[in-house]
Symmetry: C2
Subunit: 331 residues, 2 copies
């Protein structure tokens, strides 16, 4: 059995820490690629999984890491379209914090020319989540208006770019600081609101009029419910990717849903099945690869750490110091 | 100016009543058909409009009547696919309680062989509403499970038949009496629950297990919210066509929406634009005309009145005595 190095969770003390250790190098199944990882990116789920609060789905490697970029070393016998030596990136159910991983070939994408491994490692999770939310679930149509809450978050920055490039949308964002507002403006937001300093629904109505929003991407939940309902226009769509601010709406009225023919939808990416992720990966890559190649879209990278400094990287994320993706490299 | 007879609202006394009177015979615009009406059907909106509570949209005739069946007398100059003498039926923005009406040619359908004018007059409103809810908004997939609240209502009976014939669905209904439950069972419901005598969520879970429902068609609203959320399965869809039982949900939780990736949608048919109604009419007619012809679907007709007895017909509907459509004929 071949061995490889990986970052493993040491939970023998009160606080779990990551340690570099040896484990078994995976073997690709017929539908998989074996990839030599060059870079991986952090996700909030990593911190939860490390703390024992977010166990991976059954049958999935306990190694952390939900995305990666690297070089194909071996191709499963049923795989078409990839060969050894290809530079690829994509979503993983786990296993990115290691020298090698296997990836479902349907979830792997070739890295567009001009994109580094470090950049590519930070694309899959946020852009696929945003693509699913904006294009598939939100069904954003050309020139529509989209409100992206937490616009400076990883998924937020990806959603802005997709709405801008694929749908020429009018883009409105909320964020919690002037710095974050500037980041979203730089990516193309037409109006950025600091939710700590203004009521976003009032500001929106003043700027663009009542019922002006077609699609909302929300991560916050109950604190924004009434305002979201108020500013959505006819046939508006409200997409939940998280409910970080609270799940209970004290008095929810069905009237705007019926009268404005609204759609309210929730979704997460991680619990989707392989077939769905394959379709999503393909649709995203078809629409977006050229845009990355021509620098019209790019992942927002916060910092790049050597993977041996993973604890420092985790602490940066745990303290909400990052704006954009935190990358690990040097495997 | 040619005259015709129509039923007009006399609101000179405390209680409005319908009276037969003379008014101007309409002229078809370039995109319209002039139809000699043979039968029309009652809708609840008629009672509201008569009472002055539901004014028709701007530019629409004040004559009541949202659907009809009859014979084409004259064809607008831009219309293709229809000629004088064709038997047609379809949705109207108003104007069915009259000898003649004009109808947008995109909203007219040819009456399938073997279907009478009285039957055809009762198809459009309930079947198009149900088709929109079940097929377009609910996206019912083959063999899925659908729960149709108020299953014995006009739209409910149409939804059962569409789910049965077009999607071979497992069909569950609620209704308020044994008689109504029997009606829905006769139309193909696999499980019918009397909501006055049982908790439908408990009964459903006992019979088919937890999280067993893919699509819910609801007219009730807040009293059913928690139960609806509980029984929907992964990727379930909840479609509101009305909120007759109350609009305010206390302590609404977003958790099931996110965790089960639910979609909640509201819609009414009347405020849709002409282009939407044209697409809906075409899609429905393509899918359903053959089924009517071969008697595999039929509108549930309650009673047929001579149009001079319209007050008796209205009173039957106002007192909830009907099971199925009430038809007016004899214009």
């Amino acid at each position: 059995m071949e061995k490889m190095k990986a970052l493993l969770v040491d939970d023998s003390n009160q606080e779990s820490v990551m340690i570099l250790g040896d484990c078994q190098k995976p073997e690709p199944a017929a539908h998989e690629l074996l990839v030599k990882i060059e870079a991986t990116a952090l996700n909030r789920a990593d911190l939860m999984q490390k703390a024992g609060k977010y166990p991976p789905p059954k049958g999935v490697t306990p190694i952390l890491g939900l995305e990666m970029a690297g070089i194909v070393e071996k191709v499963g016998k049923d795989v078409e379209g990839f060969e050894a030596g290809d530079s690829v990136f994509g979503l993983l159910p786990g296993g990115g914090y290691a020298e090698y991983c296997v990836i479902h070939a349907g979830h792997a994408m070739k890295i567009p020319d001009g994109i580094s491994f470090e950049e590519a490692a930070g694309i899959a999770e946020v852009f696929l989540t945003a693509y699913q939310a904006v294009i598939w679930l939100g069904e954003l149509a050309p020139k529509e208006t989209i409100l992206i809450h937490a616009g400076a978050s990883g998924v937020g920055t990806a959603a802005i770019q997709l709405a801008r490039e694929l749908k020429l949308a009018r883009i409105i964002t909320t964020a919690g600081s002037e710095e974050k507002c500037s980041l979203t403006a730089g990516l193309g937001a037409d109006l950025c609101m600091n939710y700590k300093e203004e009521n976003f629904a009032d500001s929106l109505e003043e700027t663009f009029g009542k019922n002006c929003v077609d699609v909302i991407i929300d991560f916050v939940g109950s604190p924004y419910w009434d305002k979201n309902m108020r500013i959505l226009g006819m046939d508006g769509r409200l997409i939940y990717l998280a409910i970080l601010g609270g799940a209970k709406v004290e008095k929810m009225s069905l009237v705007p849903i019926l009268r404005k023919r609204l759609t309210v939808r929730g979704s997460t990416l991680r619990n989707r099945d392989d077939e769905y992720k394959t379709r999503l990966t393909k649709a995203f890559h078809n629409d977006a690869a050229e845009l990355f190649k021509h620098n019209r879209m790019k992942p927002v990278i916060d910092t790049i750490f050597d993977w041996e400094d993973v604890e420092e990287a985790h602490s940066r994320m745990a303290n909400n110091l990052n704006a954009g993706k935190i990358i690990l490299t040097g495997m």
